[in-house]
């Protein structure tokens, strides 16, 4: 079995009102010096087989087709 983690984040230049609100809440809690917060998503997947190169290709295809909206999001794939 292969374990993988896919991380999806907003592209640079795309406004993130949720991240901004979280930044504001951190400031309210007294955490000074947080310049910016960007919210994203993490997907942990378990894949059959042992071919890591194929798994990485498959994961990228999954990102392109479903896990990320590439109009507004970037993704990274990591086999763990």
């Amino acid at each position: 079995m292969i374990k993988a983690r896919v991380t999806v984040t907003l592209k640079n230049g795309v406004l993130d009102p949720q991240g901004k609100a979280i930044g504001g809440a951190l400031a309210a809690l007294g955490f000074a010096g947080v310049d910016s917060v960007r919210q994203g998503k993490v997907f942990d997947l378990e894949l059959q087989g042992s071919d890591k190169a194929k798994a990485e290709d498959d994961l990228r295809t999954m990102c392109e087709k479903l896990l990320a909206n590439t109009v507004i999001e970037d993704y990274t794939v990591a086999i763990t």
Partner: protein, 222 residues
Amino acid sequence: MKSAIIQLPGLNRDRDMIAALTKISGKAPLTVWQTETEIPDVDLIVIPGGFSYGDYLRCGAIAARMPVMAAVAEKARQGVLVMGVCNGFQVLLEMGLLPGALMRNASLKFVCREVKLEITNANTAFTRGYRPGQIIRCPVAHHDGNYFADPETLERLEGEGQVVFRYAEGTNPNGSVNDIAGIVSRSGNVLGMMPHPENLIEAAHGGSDGRPLFEGLLGKAA
């Protein structure tokens, strides 16, 4: 005019859309469930509003990958009129039938209120019931209606008259770039819009500013 409504789990504005089409066209639309792989011959396909698949992953993302949507895309390619309202707009964007994305409202709040819309292009099948520049009332109800597109896409949309509805008079409820409330495809036969014209078609709704959209579609425009 024959029409069809796509139904998915979690949509909740389908009955309003069926009522609007039935009242204005005199004929009930067909209903097509998400697992269907073919859509009967119709002139108009509507993806209504709601919260398909609970808005999981991203609004409209799961719905856009259901079998029926490949059939919708094929019909759109053939030139059949396709209209997505609210969640339906989100689905059309996730399918890639329209450019851009809808993000969380800038206020982070769900907005349920009336806005004003300017008809910025009255020369489409969907807006020919209106005058260019006409300002109409229309309800909105959404959490993720904040339209975004990259600068090149925006320039193309604006340059080619693909922005057909714009939030008017400072009523932009969600932070949409350029106050965009609705766009059509380059070919003009696919419309996506966040507001709900089907909820303002008769006196009992408190107004009928949404009615000309359907009358124009049905060829009943004055």
